[in-house]
Amino acid sequence: MEDTEIIDLFWKRDETAIQELSSKYSGYCYKIAWNLLENHEDTQECLNDTWFAAWKRMPPHRPLVLSAFVGRIARGFAIDFFRKKHANKRVERRRKDVLGEMDELSFSYTVEEQMAEKELLEAIEKFLWKLKETDRDIFIRRYWYLDSIKEIAKRHGVTEGCIKTNLCRNRKKLYRILKQEVLT
């Protein structure tokens, strides 16, 4: 079924909408949540929450890209789930890594420095659009899709070391941009 048809079902409050959505995007969302949770039960729970949240958000929302819309919800639940489950606990490095990397790009700022998250997001998007296509793909695969370094290396046919270096360089670049946005 086409995405627009699935969205229409949601807007008509037709309960088959969830079935159609999960039938089309469960693999896509499962992969995103699994990348972080690496546990079937947790991932499944996350997906159930995702379909329910989609039901609550459509309407009023009418997504332009349905995959990104549900993927974003699944990703958000996975991060929340992971943080909640592992609060005060040490976890395996290979799962913790991606969140640790993203934490490098998180920071606190005072009200005086305050700017709307929207502006920071615009700075991130501007940064992404300026990146070379390969770098952009690597960055988004890692921090949006939460792919492992290994998977990204395989996707691009290069070594894991290359991907790590590439991500590290671009994280630093983005961090400088974000800090500058906050301070100016």
Binding site: Y28, T110, K130
Partner: protein
């Protein structure tokens, strides 16, 4: 009031088009000619400057030294590079575009090719297809691409002699001969083509032995910058130079330092023979090791030449007696547009059509000296001149795990990365090591036998149900063709996979012959075997060695012989419970060595954070002394070692 910016959450909100694009199967990027400029601002400068110099001084060509290679000429190398060049001289004609690959030079991170084009187009762009170009069967990621047609020709002239340079993220040059599968493309400018108008494929073999033999390598311990001022000095650890490049490895700066993130750094000066030298910093080869290297932008970046109306790559002469240098810093331009250098040598940033002057020549292009000038005496001779001596030195050096690319363990090399088409065995040997895991890659008959085993594996994927439960890991994994098979006791292989339609899958099968053979290899070559922790008894002494952030990267060790403490250890470690899935709690940064009454030594990798977890040859155990206890009781026993959980 503080406000938090949570990147993990905010990043979810990026433009859906970006997400959608990255969700598709990866395809080679569209080609736009401006990509030449986008990666490093200075790459524009070099091209612009080369043209400007040619325009402003018609005597350039005549005064250039007698170079025997086009590559040497184009970049102003002072030495004859012909002995490093592979002469190919092959012409191909595709879609009316004729291309002759004339010569190729490689060093361990750079591929340079000289070409001649002949085409009917008004303007012709030429590039190396990074997706399709393979070196020894492996694709490498490009850090930067550069083209220069020399001093008097534009880089889009349809008929031109030109040089393309591909600078790679990682090392491309292994030992011995290198097979290069070079794919070049030609097309029109700014067309955004998926493919060029014509593709040219060249296969050839090149050796870098000559270059390696002529490389000077010298260990150093020279502190530069502002000694004594925190985060304002560097220590030069190693110098390498030959006719193509000069590189210095420095410590004292980390990837996270503001100095590295907010400033450009360079070393500039002259060698004892008067040759200008510029080494650009900024590339990290590990978290705390930065490279200063001669690059293709060297002095050109500042808009100058060497004052003799000639262009010159800023590589010192490897025969020189010393280098006189000065460290410089320059505040980075953040988020700028394209940087250009005008005819007056003024460096500018152009964005949204507005040109804003940033650095002027009179201000030394923004470069400020840091500390005093210094001299490095070059005492080592190139390898070719004293091969025996250097070989001995390299053999000794090889015993120390200094490289981020590999470590030496039990006289075997363990690699940091997988090697394509090879069966690699992931191991975590107990002992202090830079990274959590490494790959042991068997060679010769053993590799052949393993491949034959792995090629014959069944492909019986089933729904993910964690079938490994109740089994114990053997401490290693077998990696082959993109899959990692964790080995469990009893000769079982286990792997997982995500299938778009079937979801999460797993594969568990008993392959005793493979596992026994692999274990035999690990035992023979690495003395890497499972350890029965119940045998940790009658401890005579316990020596803990640590090297981590808490110890400021220095090695600390302490030996305990106190019977009461040793009895405590025996109780904790002998009765530990197996923990599935390994751990990465800084275990690789410590080594606890128990000497037993029977003379045996047992080595453990103890977590250096708060987790009460230790590993022995890749198998992990939870030894917590009491429920909810962390690692602190253990660390308190070693009161001479700095620690911070």
């Amino acid at each position: 009031m503080k406000k938090e910016f949570d990147f993990a959450k905010e990043f979810a909100e990026i433009d859906e088009k970006l997400v959608e694009e990255a969700g598709k199967e990866w395809k080679r990027p569209k080609y736009y000619i401006f990509q030449f400029y986008s990666r490093k601002i200075a790459s524009v400068a070099i091209i612009v400057i080369l043209c400007l110099v040619a325009l402003s001084n018609s005597s350039v060509q005549a005064s250039v030294r007698e170079f025997t290679t086009k590559i040497g000429e184009a970049f102003g190398f002072t030495k004859d590079l012909s002995s490093y060049a592979e002469i190919v001289n092959q012409t191909q004609t595709v879609n009316g575009i004729s291309l002759t690959l004339k010569e190729v030079i490689m060093d361990d991170r750079v591929l340079m090719v000289s070409l001649h084009t002949q085409a009917e187009q008004e303007q012709l762009a030429l590039w190396i297809n990074e997706e399709k170009t393979w070196i020894n069967g492996q694709k490498h990621m490009t850090y930067e691409s550069v083209e220069t047609a020399g001093n008097d020709v534009g880089i889009f002239e349809p008929s031109r002699d030109t040089v393309l340079v591909q600078i790679y993220e990682d090392q491309i040059l292994p030992e011995g001969e290198v097979r290069v599968h070079l794919v070049l493309e030609a097309g029109e400018i700014n067309m955004g083509l998926e493919e060029g108008l014509a593709e040219f494929v060249y296969d050839f073999v090149i050796s870098a032995e000559e270059l390696k033999e002529k490389t000077v390598r010298q260990d150093l311990h020279v502190t530069i910058g502002e000694p004594g001022v925190n985060k304002r000095n560097l220590t030069i650890k190693e110098l390498r130079m030959n006719d193509l490049y000069c590189r210095m490895t420095v410590t004292g700066i980390t990837r996270d330092d503001d100095w590295a993130n907010e400033y450009d750094l360079k070393l500039q000066g002259k060698d004892s023979l008067g040759n200008p030298v510029t080494l650009t910093g900024g590339r990290f080869i590990s978290d705390n090791e930065m490279l200063f290297v001669t690059d293709f932008f060297g002095d050109y970046e500042s808009g100058g030449d060497n004052g003799e109306d000639t262009l010159q790559m800023s590589v010192p002469d490897k025969e020189c007696d010393y280098l006189d240098l000065q460290l410089y810093e320059r505040k980075m331009i953040l988020d700028g547009g394209a940087e250009i250098v005008d005819e007056e040598g003024v460096c500018e940033v152009q964005e949204s059509g507005e040109v804003q002057e940033v650095y002027a020549q009179k201000d030394n292009y923004g470069w400020e000296p840091v500390g005093e000038p210094f001299r490095i005496s070059v005492t080592q001779k190139p390898l070719a001149q004293n091969k025996e001596e250097i070989n001995l030195e390299e053999t000794e050096a090889a015993k120390v795990p200094v490289s981020t690319e590999y470590m030496v363990y039990e006289d075997e090399i363990l690699y940091r990365d997988l090697q394509p088409d090879q069966v690699c065995i992931r191991v975590e040997p107990s002992g202090i090591r830079e990274n959590l895991y490494y790959y042991y890659i068997p060679t010769g008959e053993a590799q052949k036998k393993l491949k034959s085993f792995m090629d014959g594996l069944a492909d019986d994927w089933q729904k993910h149900e964690m079938r490994w439960q109740g089994m114990k890991e053997a401490g290693y994994a077998i990696c082959y063709q993109g899959r990692e098979y964790t080995v469990f006791e009893g000769g079982y292989l286990y792997a997982t996979e995500i299938d778009d339609e079937r979801g999460s899958l797993e594969l568990l099968m008993q392959e005793k012959e493979i596992c026994d053979f692999t274990q035999q290899l690990l035992s023979e070559h690495l003395a890497y075997e499972p350890v029965d922790i119940t045998q940790i008894k009658d401890i005579v002494s316990a020596k803990l060695s640590v090297c981590n952030i808490a110890t400021n990267g220095k090695f600390y060790s302490q030996t305990i012989t106190d019977q009461a403490t040793l009895a405590l250890f025996e109780g904790w470690f002998q009765n530990a419970t197996y923990s599935y899935g390994g751990a990465d709690c800084g275990n690789n940064l410590s080594c606890l060595e128990f000497t037993l009454a029977n003379g045996e030594i047992v080595k453990l990798s103890v977590a250096t954070d708060s987790c009460p977890i230790f590993g022995i040859n890749g198998v992990y155990y939870d030894y917590r002394p009491e429920p909810d206890a962390d690692n602190s009781k253990f660390w308190e026993c070693f009161d001479e070692i700095l620690w911070d959980l």
